[in-house]
Amino acid sequence: MSSDDQIERLLMQLVRETSVGNVRWSLTEPHYFLNNATDDLVVANFGASYGDLSVGVYEARYKYWRDEDEFYWCSEIRFSVAKYDSLIVDYRKSSAALQQLYEMARTQVMDFDSLLKGSFF
């Protein structure tokens, strides 16, 4: 089993745990090295603690270099794992599980259920 495969499994597990309600996501500061010493910018970072790891899904804007001096901005959803404040995983393959996890974390943070008033319309 490759390490990518293991991370995909972890992502699926997180999706399931989130849907059950075992993992609580909140808006947190991204890890220092996710937006320092790099050109990438972090739009939003949703973090949660999972066991003794702190996991995070975030949207990054990065420069896609077409040529030596020509680039445009792209957006990507990524996954990070930190342990004892060290960044140990920065996963950048936007798989279906990762996309779904990001959406669920966002929905949880937005808390639509309490935001949308059923009686308003």
């Binding site: 995909e8 059950v20 393959k93 779904q100």
Partner: protein, 152 residues
């Protein structure tokens, strides 16, 4: 020259041999072009199909999350059926090495439909999670393949 021909007999023989070789060569070229043609068709179709597969897997995972939190399993079943359709079409297009993973997922879907009714809801649910996990792996795998194709 008693046959009335202007050419020597050996020239005629040579040309007959050449035309037979030419026929064989034509067959080889025809076969090769056909192969290249179908290869290109697959390459042109795969990125599209991978995109479709990925969005279907995503909606399956979303449906499963909903099943987990709201106990609603109709969407998940629908999503699995749709996924099967995509996979059956994909089965004819992918290379041998990826075919294995496609077959794994199809096998899981088929085993599901045959004994779905006798499973308890919990078992059925965790089977569906395992299934979506394999489908997700497949989508990632094919996504990589698409990147490989770009450079060949």
């Amino acid at each position: 020259m008693e046959t009335g021909s202007y050419l020597y007999q050996w020239v005629v023989d040579l040309s007959v041999i050449c035309s037979i070789l030419g026929l064989i060569w034509t067959a080889v070229v025809w076969w090769e072009t056909k192969k290249i043609g179908s290869d290109f068709l697959v390459r042109a179709r795969i990125p599209d199909m991978v995109k479709e597969l990925k969005s279907e897997v995503k909606s399956l995972i979303a449906a499963l999350a909903e099943w987990e939190s709201h106990g609603e399993h109709v969407k998940a079943s629908e999503s699995i059926s749709a996924l099967k359709g995509i996979l059956l079409s994909l089965r004819l297009k992918v290379s041998k090495s990826d075919l294995k993973q496609v077959e794994v997922v199809i096998g899981m879907i088929e085993s599901r439909s045959s004994f779905h009714s006798c499973l308890s809801s919990d078992e059925s649910k965790s089977h569906a999670w395992r299934l979506s996990q394999e489908a997700n792996t497949l989508a990632v795998l094919l996504g990589q393949l698409e990147k490989d194709n770009r450079w060949t």
